[in-house]
Symmetry: C2
């Protein structure tokens, strides 16, 4: 039952159940790791935003977009295992309990995140700033859709 729940959650964000072969970490580790992944995403998004709004540096945007792509495909969904709906990593988790039950919605927002992150890496490599701006917006919407659904309001 416990494994089944993990598998469903992971599948919902575009992972194969095979990737669960080695799930590591105590709940507090998993919460700290996923908070770290989110922060690393935030740093990378912020860098791309600065490049769009300021002088555009193709290499830096590629670095950031590749980081986002790797994280979107990293299998970080496994860090939302049962028992991690409450608890403290760097800080108290902000996840809503719905993430662990609304698998249809999780699958929808997770797939969009994957798709838009992969597309952003492709667009960044091509180096057209206007296209990056558009795709950055698409990814931002995918992030927001998941946050609106599954993250508690931030204090």
């Amino acid at each position: 039952m416990k494994f089944k729940k993990i598998a469903v959650t992971a599948l919902a964000i575009g992972l194969s159940s095979a990737t669960l072969a080695q799930s590591i970490g105590k709940p507090e580790d998993q919460i700290r790791w996923r908070q770290s992944v989110m922060q690393t995403l935030g740093w990378s998004m912020g860098r791309i935003k600065a490049n769009i709004e300021g002088a555009y540096n193709k290499d830096q945007v590629i670095q950031a977009a590749n980081t986002i792509q790797a994280l979107a495909n990293s299998g970080s969904g496994a860090l939302f295992a049962p028992g991690t709906d409450k608890g403290k990593g760097w800080h108290e988790t902000e996840v809503k309990p719905e993430l662990f039950t609304n698998t249809a919605k999780l699958r929808e927002v997770g797939s969009a995140y994957n798709k838009e992150a992969n597309e952003l890496a492709k667009v960044a490599a091509a180096g057209d700033a206007a296209a990056v701006k558009t795709q950055f917006g698409n990814l931002g919407k995918a992030c927001k859709a998941c946050h609106d659904e599954f993250r508690k309001e931030q204090k």
Copy 2:
């Protein structure tokens, strides 16, 4: 002078000075982001270790190795800007002041980290568990060399 120092530090870990076009974040942001990057690396290294020691799952090792590679090439050296030798991100920074002055050593350990991370991603894609084990060891040594040199002893 300030820019020159950033440039030297960034170059020392294998970045081009062009990647500094947009340096973002206050010192406390930069410290929190680099601590998050390190945690994400730690999670990924832990996953590979679990795969080497347990049942080997090629896809999961690729996910983790690609994450490490993207982070090693992310330009996270820019998060060690002057003024971030002290301060608190998630916790008080553990960086030694030597990181900001011993650029020769920083260049050496930074280049090794890049090289071994890129190699691990390549080896992971090929899927030979024994080769991954060897290369994981090489990357671990590169991590340790930098920690020994530039990270204060952890409490």
